[in-house]
Symmetry: C2
């Protein structure tokens, strides 16, 4: 749930005079997104999302995020489109926060996706990777190897509180990944957080991707590995090969994966599982009881990274040779 | 904020087959209401609110609440209208909760109302009191004298933790109110919770009343006193006579107040301030840290009840003699 900053109708109306959006009819704080405050606006024209960027988002990153959505939408990807103000800017300020108006995408995220949906996600991810080509701003991935080390240094002393032996196990993983992390795979703009709640469907068809606030430049195949982790495990922790196969075939039908990318997938998936394990572990150890954010269990991703650690080749994910 | 129960798109689509509402396009949990889970639905027709009734609402009270909205809307009051299912029922079940589909009212609640808005609220409250006439189900006010005594018994031992001396002060208030509580003022259906967030405005005109989940049968003037408490005090705790005058004149322009009602207003306002003080005190003492509900400060209402305790006549609220 996320409405960290409330807004008065007076401030909102003043803010909206900078936009050509018709007349405001209502605004409701919505319980989606954990980083920012989001409001669904009804106007005499189309519905809109108003996002107030909270402290966890770096203001200097906003031109990248908003420019990227604009770039992707202009290349035909179904994603939210930031509305320019009358002066052309994509960003304003409201209730002391940077704020943007963004088109509202109809559609629903799937609480229980099936293999065919994973196939659609693979295709959409590949389409996004192609559409990202030519976007001129860059943003390094703050949550790659160096970021993991930083998170781990802040958590390592207390890691065994979560599960005995974690201190040694994760330290060894980090050493292994640092020694073998690929350096020459194709890179581009990646979504980096394409979980279920960031993909909308209408009548079983994928209708759009949202929430580009972790997007950055990194290996495209790393983004694929994030989706394998996010979409292809069952609630009992087991990997579903049908989903993995659908995801990877869907992706390859739009953007082929090179042999080197395929060979690297188990290591990349091990790394991306570690990435989500580490942020969840850090939040788990540091979020005070009573915070509005629901803490996610780091152990879910511990199971996933252990799975990938023993995977020998991408055929175990369901990929046809 | 309030989304206590999540729903899957599969369950929701099955639920919607019972209704004639067009095709579902999206649903978003909204951060309003503290008792229930509310979702804003977009369909190929009009937007709708889906409410899942959580544990604090008695299921046996739902026919009263839903029937009342239906009754009031049919009498021309702008309030949400429960949609009947194909079988005529106003209530269904979703995710294990009683659930209803309700029309969505455009409009915004005012974070900083002015006296003219209080006048509109007074008129709308009186209109609701008149429109409630003829509604055949009844529901006693569980939060009147007996309810207050029950809440106080559960809190009295720890009351001095909140402010020293409260134990004696509030016990004396309860004795005084019980001895003098009016018995023969006009009664009817009251809203009983008409705070700012339950009144919508569009372009400075009141566009509707929402949230009838505390509605019950009680003295109509008691409902007026709740609104005096909710709308006519400033953030510094002072009573604003201009707002009080506007509220009472607005009310009287639609439904006259009898001499007995006017004479009873200070005592009723003392009682209604005590009612909100007691529920907030109880929640303050019992809500665990970490709950999703934001605890409201009971001391705000302590100040209000102390104010009303020394009011001699309704002229102090701004009422013209």
């Amino acid at each position: 749930m996320a409405v960290y900053t409330d807004i008065t109708e007076i401030d909102l109306k003043r803010f909206l005079t900078e936009y050509d959006v018709g007349e405001l009819l209502s605004y409701k704080g919505i319980a989606e997104g954990v980083e920012n405050s989001n409001f669904l606006l009804h106007t005499t024209r189309d519905p809109l999302i108003l996002t107030l960027y909270e402290k966890r988002v770096e203001k200097s990153d906003l031109p990248f995020f908003l420019g990227l959505m604009h770039h992707l939408a202009s290349r035909g990807l179904n994603c939210p489109l930031p509305l320019p103000r009358r002066d052309g800017a994509l960003l304003g300020e409201l209730s002391g926060r940077p704020a943007a108006m963004i088109s509202f995408l109809e559609g629903m995220w799937l609480r229980k996706p099936e293999a065919r949906h994973c196939g659609e996600v693979g295709k959409a991810l590949a389409s996004m990777h192609l559409a990202g080509d030519g976007f001129e701003i860059t943003r390094p991935n703050a949550l790659s190897l160096d970021g993991w080390k930083g998170l781990w240094e802040k958590s390592v002393d207390r890691a065994d509180e979560v599960q005995k032996g974690l201190q040694d196990e994760i330290s060894a993983d980090l050493t292994h990944l640092a020694a073998h992390w690929p350096a020459d795979l194709p890179t581009g703009v990646i979504h980096a957080d394409l979980f279920q709640d960031n993909v909308f469907f209408l009548n079983d068809e994928l209708s759009g991707l949202i929430d580009f606030y972790f997007a950055c430049n990194d290996m495209l195949a790393y983004d694929v590995s994030i989706c394998l982790n996010a979409w292809c495990f069952e609630a009992d922790g087991s990997f579903n090969r049908d989903k993995g196969a659908a995801m990877l075939e869907g992706y390859r039908s739009v953007r082929p994966l090179s042999d080197a990318e395929i060979a690297a997938l188990p290591l990349l998936a091990h790394g991306s599982a570690l990435r989500f394990f580490l942020t969840r572990l850090y939040d788990w150890l540091t979020t005070p009881a009573g915070a509005l954010v629901v803490k996610k269990d780091p152990l879910e991703y511990l199971g996933k990274l252990r799975f990938h650690r023993q995977v020998l080749s991408a055929t175990e994910y369901g990929l046809e040779a």
